[in-house]
């Protein structure tokens, strides 16, 4: 590195004395409108999903009730009325063929999507952190073994294995739980590899060496020195895992091996969509749009979290431009 010049005066937005890392991250996140917007949209979605039974009651609809009278059976079950049968009772219209209320089905679908995505992420993080830490700090043999297993887990095609798994699990096993377990157990390799690599590089840092010299045990070092520094990258990766998991759930349900009817799910609603391209486009566009927006919002939020938490993100602005200045 060239001898970089330090700013003579503190940069604007310089930190108040004593500001810890968490408030700094929050301040950085607040400066990203796209991430905030995404976060807001997701908060709204979560709220709606949580309140799904309440809203269903409010609209007076049951997501699984058939309404044969609302579809035109002569034309193969196209909803009566315009825009997929939107009416005062059915705010977003009805499902073609069955006449089930689309609004409540989409809401209940959101519950499944969010539950599986978040649940699987939690499981992935738990397994990944434990495996990664053990691989980095455990004894040589154990460490190498776990590292190998991690490599294998990363190499295996998740979707294919998850599909195969659904073939052998008894049909009465609760599906959302199965999806959480399948995604979580098959896809923790990424977290583990990252945690291992980070731990190995952190372990060589001087402040960890200093802690060792002061007589701290390995466990205490892991808890006090390593985990706080690992929190940022783990949270970042977890935030980016959520949309990935959501897509996997939707994909499995789309393929017909995920959430089983009558439980609604966005992906599952789309699996029958091809038939209705012309007759009822709203039925295709609503779940597709909802899934697209949700996944995009999670991705944008995750990206915002990444830049807010990356300790170099703030300084990268400065160091980076400083580098370019001399460049």
């Amino acid at each position: 590195m060239t001898v970089l010049l330090e700013p003579a005066a503190p940069a604007p937005g310089a930190l108040a004395p004593g500001a810890g890392p968490a408030p700094r991250a929050w301040r950085r996140l607040r400066r990203r409108p796209a991430a905030l917007l995404a976060g807001g949209a997701l908060a709204l979605l979560v709220l709606l999903a949580l309140a799904a039974p309440l809203l269903a009651q409010l609209s007076g609809q049951d997501p699984n009730a058939y309404h044969d009278d609302l579809v035109d059976s002569a034309r193969g079950g196209v909803p009566l009325g315009s825009f997929g049968g939107i009416s005062g009772d059915h705010w977003l219209g009805v499902e073609p063929g069955t006449g089930r209320d689309l609004f409540t089905r989409l809401l209940y679908g959101a519950r499944v999507s969010l539950l599986v995505a978040l649940g699987a992420t939690v499981l992935q993080v738990l397994l990944g952190v434990v495996a990664g830490l053990t691989a980095a700090l455990g004894n040589r043999l154990l460490g190498r073994l776990i590292a190998r297993v991690t490599d294998v887990m990363i190499a295996l095609p998740l979707l294919v294995l998850a599909i195969a798994l659904t073939a052998v699990v008894p049909p009465d096993f609760p599906r959302p739980l199965l999806l959480v377990l399948a995604i979580g157990i098959l896809d923790w390799g990424g977290v583990a590899r990252m945690v291992r690599a980070q731990t190995l590089s952190l372990r060589g840092l001087d402040f960890v060496e200093a802690a060792r010299l002061s007589g701290n045990s390995t466990l205490r070092i892991a808890r006090r020195e390593l985990l706080p520094s690992l929190a940022a990258p783990v949270i970042t990766l977890a935030a980016l895992k959520v949309p990935t998991n959501m897509v996997i759930e939707a994909s499995l349900s789309f393929l017909g091996v995920g959430v089983k009817p009558p439980t609604p799910s966005w992906g599952q609603m789309l699996s029958g969509a091809q038939t209705w391209f012309r007759a009822d486009p709203a039925y295709v566009l609503l779940p597709a749009g909802l899934l697209f927006v949700t996944v995009l919002a999670f991705t944008v939020l995750g990206d915002g979290v990444r830049t807010a938490l990356d300790p170099r993100a703030g300084s990268r602005l400065r160091v980076g431009t400083r580098k370019e200045r001399t460049a």
Binding site: L5, A8, A11, P21, A210, L213, S214, G215, R220, R325
Partner: protein
């Protein structure tokens, strides 16, 4: 007017920071001129704006959002007003720059010869083959042996010194009139540094090049230039012929800067007699009788190897030493000499491949109690997520101290002792400068009342004035507390300032060890002599004499 090679008037450089319209002034009204074939050294500490001035000469700030004021003319070209094409012609062909880190300054993917040829073809309409031949000839000119073959190697296959030579060859390829060297030897070992400085000197004399040397090291500048420009906080504080500035600095900052530069030839400051040291050690509960005193740390035939099979390298190959209470052992050596590996084995962070370490007579397994370390890098040596007070308190907590009030009181006392304020307890490392962080590191090392502290390059990341303060603090504390100190450094002058005894390391072995004044004044081993000879001195005449000795009159 137009016969000036460099003409800088009222140069102002503002860097954008964060929000819109927010700027930080890096250079504030600097003016200087330089004639063809002359050599000017710009000297200053980090943050003085010296590298920024160098970059401004080539218009490297263009397109980065930086605000520039004043005029910069290089060989008649107005850098500020030049078109993009004119600027490209200036860069490399008229004025060429040599950067600090030779490894990262070359493209890792291409052969060195091809990179030099590429630069040549930007400025000269020649065939690929002719450019390649030209590249080989400049590589040969800068003293790269077997240039035809070496030109096909990629940068990582070169040693540090060879890479810097290759960069200089790239600078020469278009026969520029001005060479701008930004810290060209900072990343190099002292013996290699001397060779590169000699090369630059020879090029100046033989090719009639103008040289603008940017450096933090006054000694390097004294060896290489005719005139000095001293910068501080974006201002030029002093300018004059190098001998005059060194002999009689007019500006108070220059005086302070020169006073802080550690001198190789200055005998160490008088220190309290051995008696007091032993008493202090007695207080710490370590000492025995004078003659039968047990060393605080003792190494017996320490070896350490890394890697396996064919790639096995010996970092430390059979080192024995002993350090007593109240004593400072300096360990000097160039990069790769194994000095840091040795230090880590002494404190138990690294297991030796063979040999033993004894602490106060006992053979230790793992990490023994009562040893601490001060690290080189002020950034990574403190946990960024913990307040500095908590960092200092950590060894106390680890030792089982539960009394929160006692912990805090001791941490506060230590903060004060190393020259920081008690109010700093709850602040985070990023709020401190490098020197302050190093003080925190020292306080942390002192917290558990150790018998031995190993300092691994504790001041090499610091500016020279800060360096002087931190070394003084270490020496003071050591005398006061009677701790045994191992001071590892590559800088021979710094080691002389703090050590009682010194061990010179090369390739994992101690080639010479003895009382510091004896080793420095009457070196017995040829390698020690070579090291001492290579250190730049703050006297242009002495430097010329050394150069005369080294290369011979040519």
């Amino acid at each position: 007017m137009s016969d000036l090679l460099v003409d800088v008037r009222d140069l102002v450089v503002d860097f954008p920071v964060g929000g819109p319209g927010a700027y930080v002034r890096a250079v504030d009204g600097v003016s200087f001129t330089m004639g063809p074939g002359h050599a000017l050294g710009i000297v200053g500490e980090s943050g003085s704006g010296k590298s920024t001035v160098a970059a401004a000469l080539l218009g490297l700030h263009r397109g980065t959002g930086t605000r520039l004021g004043g005029t910069v003319r290089v060989a008649g070209t107005d850098v500020g007003g030049a078109s993009a094409a004119e600027l490209r012609r200036l860069r490399g062909a008229t004025a060429a720059m040599v950067f600090q880190d030779p490894l990262s300054s070359l493209d890792p993917y291409y052969a060195v010869g091809d990179q030099i040829a590429e630069v040549y073809r930007v400025h000269a309409a020649v065939s690929r083959r002719a450019a390649r031949a030209r590249a080989v000839s400049v590589l040969d000119r800068v003293g790269i042996p077997d240039a035809v073959r070496r030109s096909r190697a990629r940068p990582h296959e070169f040693s540090g010194g060879m890479r810097q030579r290759a960069l200089i060859a790239m600078a020469l390829v278009c026969e520029p009139r001005l060479l701008i060297a930004d810290e060209p030897t900072t990343a190099l070992d002292v013996t290699v540094q001397a060779q590169i400085l000699d090369l630059l000197h020879g090029l100046r004399r033989e090719e009639g090049l103008g040289l603008l040397l940017v450096t933090h090291d006054v000694g390097v500048a004294a060896e290489s230039v005719d005139e000095l420009l001293v910068m501080r906080d974006g201002h030029a504080v002093e300018r004059g012929p190098v001998a005059e500035v060194l002999a009689g600095p007019a500006d108070p900052y220059t005086r302070a800067l020169l006073a802080a530069v550690p001198r190789l030839d200055a005998p160490r400051k008088p220190r309290p007699s051995r008696e007091t040291a032993t008493t202090a050690a007695g207080v710490a509960g370590v000492a025995g009788g004078d003659g039968a005193e047990v060393p605080v740390v003792e190494a017996l035939g320490l070896r350490r190897e890394f890697g396996r099979g064919k790639r096995r390298v010996t970092a430390v190959g059979g080192v024995s030493l002993a350090v007593r209470a109240g004593e400072t052992l300096g360990v000097v050596g160039e990069s790769g000499s194994g000095k840091s590996t040795l230090g880590r084995m002494l404190v138990g962070l690294l297991e030796p491949s063979s040999g033993r370490v004894r602490h106060a007579g006992d053979e230790a397994r793992g990490i023994p109690a009562g040893v601490q370390m001060v690290f080189q890098d002020p950034v990574s040596s403190l946990n960024p997520r913990r307040s500095v007070g908590e960092s200092i308190a950590d060894p106390l907590r680890a030792a089982g101290e539960r009394d929160e009030a006692a912990i805090r009181a001791r941490a506060l006392a230590l903060l004060e002792r190393v020259g920081l304020e008690p109010g700093h307890y709850d602040r985070y490392p990023h709020e401190f400068s490098g020197g302050q962080r190093q003080r925190v590191g020292i306080a942390r090392a002192l917290a558990p009342r150790p018998r031995l502290i190993v300092c691994d390059e504790p001041v090499s990341a610091l500016d020279v004035t800060t360096q002087a303060q931190v070394t003084a603090l270490l020496a003071e504390l050591q005398q006061e507390l009677g701790i045994a100190l191992v001071f590892i450094a590559h800088d021979l002058a710094v080691v002389r300032q703090v050590s009682d005894r010194v061990a010179v390391m090369r390739s994992g072995e101690i080639v010479e060890e003895g009382p510091v004044d004896e080793v420095y004044d009457r070196p017995a081993h040829p390698y020690t002599r070579q090291l001492l000879d290579a250190v730049p001195v703050l006297d242009p005449e002495l430097a010329a004499a050394r150069r005369h000795r080294a290369v011979g009159p040519s």
